[in-house]
Symmetry: C2
Subunit: 308 residues, 2 copies
């Protein structure tokens, strides 16, 4: 199958690498100059579960792609999604399926401006991936990738893509209710990413305090209320328990938003996580003061740190 990875950072490169190894015709797309030049000169260097491999995969700037593909996997940062889809229009044909695997909520609202609804698939992945420098990634652990067609009728094609993901070792799962999984992951991120970034703590430091549970309850409660308005039924107790367990297991980690904001002074995806809940709550006429405040706080911190 002919595929493009739109947004080839750590996670995009993982998918590109594993799909390429499985025999698919893959191209990478990204905007980071050093990354592109390194991969063009030396290939993509992958430390794959402890063993180093170098693979030759074509990589392009978004405005330099030309040939239509069968499937596009989207892995941009949420705030750059529209720009990416606009740039890569030449590779999106009448039947090209576009699979959104971004963090956060509501990306279909952006996608539908550039992609026919029948070709949209949404999903969520719990693989991890580390970027060690331009052209260099480190992959370990295991994960899975749930996807589902956005419109009824797209099931057959979605299952074909799931099969390809399975063959590539990416543990594809066809989901009957992927919106649930997307909301659930967003809720986990809405607690862990936002608070540890604001408070500059690891997950473990934060969850050693009794107040962490009180904060978690407040954030999750609003996610549950707003998700319900989208017919997504998050279970409050189960979600809170899952978050606490995740924080314990990954105690010494700083979440990705902390890496973006505090460590690298980069713009965060807050508007697509807590900010999305606050915005949707407003639209639905329910209350989400906690997520609105957290979104404000993160934006203030972004501005004070003069993020890119």
């Amino acid at each position: 199958m002919k595929m493009a990875i739109a947004g080839s950072g750590a996670m995009g490169s993982r998918f590109g690498f594993m799909l390429h190894k499985a025999g698919n015709d893959v191209i990478l797309i990204d905007k980071w100059k050093e990354h592109i030049e390194t991969i063009r000169e030396n290939g993509l260097t992958v430390n794959y579960n402890g063993t180093e491999e170098v693979v030759d995969i074509p990589i392009y700037y978004p405005d330099q792609v030309t040939d239509q593909v069968d499937v596009v996997f989207l892995f941009t940062k949420a705030m750059f999604l529209g720009e990416m889809l606009e740039d890569i229009q030449p590779i999106i044909g009448e039947d090209t399926k576009v699979v959104c695997l971004l963090n956060g909520i509501g990306h279909e609202m952006v996608m539908k401006e550039y992609v026919a609804l029948k070709n949209i698939l949404i999903g969520v992945t719990i693989w991890t991936a580390g970027l060690k420098g331009p052209g260099k990634i480190e992959l370990e652990g295991t994960g899975s990738t749930e996807i589902q067609n956005f419109l009824p009728g797209g099931e057959e094609k979605a299952k074909e893509i799931v099969a390809v993901l399975k063959e590539a070792g990416l543990n594809g799962i066809y989901s009957e209710n992927v919106k649930f999984s997307i909301w659930r992951k967003a809720c986990v991120n809405g607690v862990l990413n936002a608070t540890c970034s604001l408070l500059d703590t690891t997950l473990g430091e934060m969850f050693k305090t009794e107040e962490a549970l009180s904060v978690t309850n407040k954030i999750v409660k609003e996610f549950v209320e707003v998700a319900k308005k989208q017919d997504v039924l998050l279970d409050f107790d189960e979600t809170v328990a899952y978050i606490v367990k995740t924080a314990e297991e990954l105690g010494h980690h700083y979440p990705s938003m902390h890496q973006d904001l505090i460590q690298h002074n980069r713009r965060t995806e807050i508007d697509f996580i807590n900010g999305a809940v606050a915005r949707l709550a407003n639209e639905y006429g329910v209350d989400a003061p906690i997520n609105a405040l957290i979104t404000d706080f993160i934006h203030i911190k972004e501005k004070v740190l003069k993020v890119n």
Copy 2:
């Protein structure tokens, strides 16, 4: 008049110094060993509007005071108030007036366990003072000090104390509604102290962002609601405007809670500012989720920083 300053940090030392200079019989009370030893050996060194003076004022540990005084001015950190009042019982006679000038809300609830209600005065001061090291303070700028008797009938004595403060240059004002001033100051602190400490910013950095006003509105709204339950009528628009003006005027300052928490890793007074609003809201059956969340966040930060 015979007076004691209970809690002789920067602000307590300012009051002690100015009251002593005006001819009153003043003692200082504190627990900081180096501060006490320095003052006992070398006197209190005061840079008073640019001119250095050294004055000899007796200073004691709280559990070493013996002689009754006419007036006690309380300047401890809020969380140490009860302990201080317990220790200094020997100096509080049947007619000793006790004037609370602490930041925050609701200290009368603690005071009334140790002081007869008829002897309690509450107040608020907007003087500033800087501690430059043990036994050394720096005083500049101007300010005023509003006080009022807690119970009706105490007006005459309160006005005597106001006169003493005036003579000492401390610009005493007898307030007909000091609870309003206390709430208003707490609200200003509830916005500026808490948020700049959480976000590790100066007042100016924070208020350059458009989100600062949104956050301010949310915090003030809850203060206004809860104050109303105590028959204190804060004006929402006026309070917000005052906070914005204060942040602009003191743009390059870090507020005192930032100094405590971030710069010196000391416990904050959050429970007597935003935390008091959250607690009172709970008692009155109104909602204050924003102040409750901010209180949780500050407590998490205190624990992560292992404050004293």
